[in-house]
Amino acid sequence: MEKVKVGIIGPGNIGQDLMIKISRNPFLELTCVVGIVESPGIKRARDMGVDASPDGVDYLIQHYKDDIRIVFDATSAKGHIENAKRLRPAGIFTLDLTPAALGPFCVPAVNLNDDMLKQPEVNMVTCAGQATTPMVAAINRVADVYYAETVSSLASLSAGPGTRANIDEFTQTTRTALEKIGGADCARALIILNPAEPSIFMSNTIYCRVRNKDMDAITKACDDCLRTMQSYVPGCRYKMRPILKDPEDDIVMLIVEVEGQGDYLPMYAGNLDIINAAAIRIAENKAKEILGVA
């Protein structure tokens, strides 16, 4: 079967994990990987038989402008802003895994529609946003969420220097997604780094204050949402099904844990896995659209 050619900019941890996920995908063909220095990631790409270069986005555009239809940008917010200036004129659909957020937020379980695929680029929010907004959106649809709050606990080893240096950006971006994509009237996102050994799996506690506390409807909505998420993030599971935190109050509480697929990144790094898995899902839908398959 014909595949759509894709590229990766930034062969760091995220980029190398994407290489493995793409190589498994029936609709995507990894064609070019670029970085800005010779690195283990560049070497890995070459070992996989993929053209790889330390000459950055320019190399990719020069050589593959008409071949590559989808690019994953796993550099940094600053890096992406520069890359976007070159990718947009080239008309390459871009999945932005950085916090730059030039394009609209996309969370596959909530808003991956045809319109999203027509954008020049989409932003992947944050790992916490990918893990929590689907549940908030699901609850909001049946129970009208007026306040959402999420607490994401990540293994220390899975939080890279970029996240650590910009933790406010991480919580604020997640919060915006909970409101815009999740549909909460207002929201808060908290993040906790836990250095316990062995490393903890990514854990997300989701609180929703609701106007209509119909727990049967809420539970069904969350169960359905979890199945949708599992279709692209297999390691996503409940640690606690929805409950009312206090039966007298209006706070719905549930806990979702994300175990990674252990591709390049370790199993505990469900946070990195989920954002990559979500990007792959979007790329796959875009590829199907390009290929004209249902």
Partner: protein, 335 residues
């Protein structure tokens, strides 16, 4: 050498009252502590700025209102806030500055100091006196604590604390951590205790011996778990150790019993009754004198503390409980 005591009744102590201190409560406590000479008073949700959440419990008052009323009340004391990166953000810090906070403690888990970089830098730029707060210090070996403290120092922290959030350190563990920080850093070192093993005061003293110059306390020891070092006891002990704190002992004791206790009683909390016993230690007086002196104080309507101090000054020994009535009578007559 003098010790700067930061009182955290209105921040760590908020945990004990489910963050329900009112603006009026804050004003009266800040007023009492300020008059008693406390130089840094921390206020806010127990989990710091923006801690008011489903996860940690909601505060009665907003962060801004709490800081504002404290800052407006204090004549001399500086108002401090706590910020945990991941919970509070730089914009929250700016609001706290605008409301009158002038000291901030940026707190991370002891191994995660690098998430405090942007907040420490931003705090310095705003003009805050900026303190790095390494929580759960028992979870890391002294060398690791130093490595993380150095990061905070490099970001611009002006003091770094070893924070025994779990009240799990023994005096030796405190000494090792504080001594290493004191030796290797060029900024002052602080220590924050919890009394979960009954070691709050001993650990604070161990920290001071090892070179710490910033120590936390709270009135009556009000705080998470078994609470913190009681500010009044810390004041007492340091007075006995001839280490100046600038805090008036009776003033701080009275703020605990006369201002804090009625407030927390209305919220269903009682402070441990340690002050009368503390005075025995302060004055070096036979322990069985306590109940007798209380009765004498009541009989003649005088201050229990003055009876005990006088008994100590006169060198009363065990068995001379009768002196307490004589002393009480004399104090009553001299009024």
């Amino acid at each position: 050498m003098s010790i700067i005591i930061t009182d955290t009744t209105l921040r760590d102590g908020s945990h004990s009252v489910r963050h329900q201190f009112s603006k009026e409560n804050i004003a009266s406590l800040v007023s009492g502590m300020d008059k008693a000479g406390v130089s840094i008073i921390e206020v806010g949700h127990g989990d710091g700025l923006a801690g008011s959440t489903c996860n940690y419990g909601f505060t009665k008052e907003s962060d801004t209102d709490m800081v504002q009323v404290a800052a407006q009340t204090a004549q001399n004391a500086r108002i401090a806030v706590l910020l945990l990166p991941g919970i509070g953000t730089v914009p929250d810090l700016q609001k706290a500055w605008d409301a009158g906070a002038r000291v901030v403690r940026i707190a991370t888990h002891v191994t995660e100091a690098d998430i405090s970089h942007e907040h420490i830098e931003a705090a310095r730029k705003m003009g805050f006196f900026t303190i790095g707060f390494l929580m759960m210090a028992h979870r890391a070996q002294p060398e690791k604590v130093l490595e993380e403290a150095r990061k905070m120092e490099s970001y611009g922290a002006q003091v770094v604390y070893a924070t025994d959030s779990a009240g799990a350190l023994l005096p030796d563990g405190v000494r090792q951590r504080v001594a290493l920080l004191k030796e290797k850093l060029s900024i002052p070192v602080g220590f924050h205790s919890h009394n979960n093993l009954g070691l709050a005061i001993g650990n604070s003293l161990a920290a001071i011996e090892a070179g710490a110059t910033y120590i936390d306390g709270s009135l009556g020891g009000l705080g998470a778990g078994a609470g913190n070092t009681a500010t009044e006891m810390l004041t007492t002990v340091l007075e006995r150790a001839n280490i100046p704190t600038g805090i008036d002992l009776f003033g701080i004791m009275d703020t605990a019993t006369q201002v804090l206790q009625p407030i927390i009683s209305s919220l269903g909390v009682t402070l441990p009754k340690t002050q009368d016993a503390m005075m025995l230690g302060y004055a070096g007086v036979y322990s069985s004198f306590m109940l007798h002196a209380r009765r004498a104080a009541e009989r003649f309507g005088v201050d229990y503390r003055k009876i005990i101090i006088t008994a100590g000054e006169r060198g009363a020994v065990g068995g001379q409980e009768d002196w307490l009535y004589r002393i009480a009578r004399e104090i009553a007559e001299s009024k």
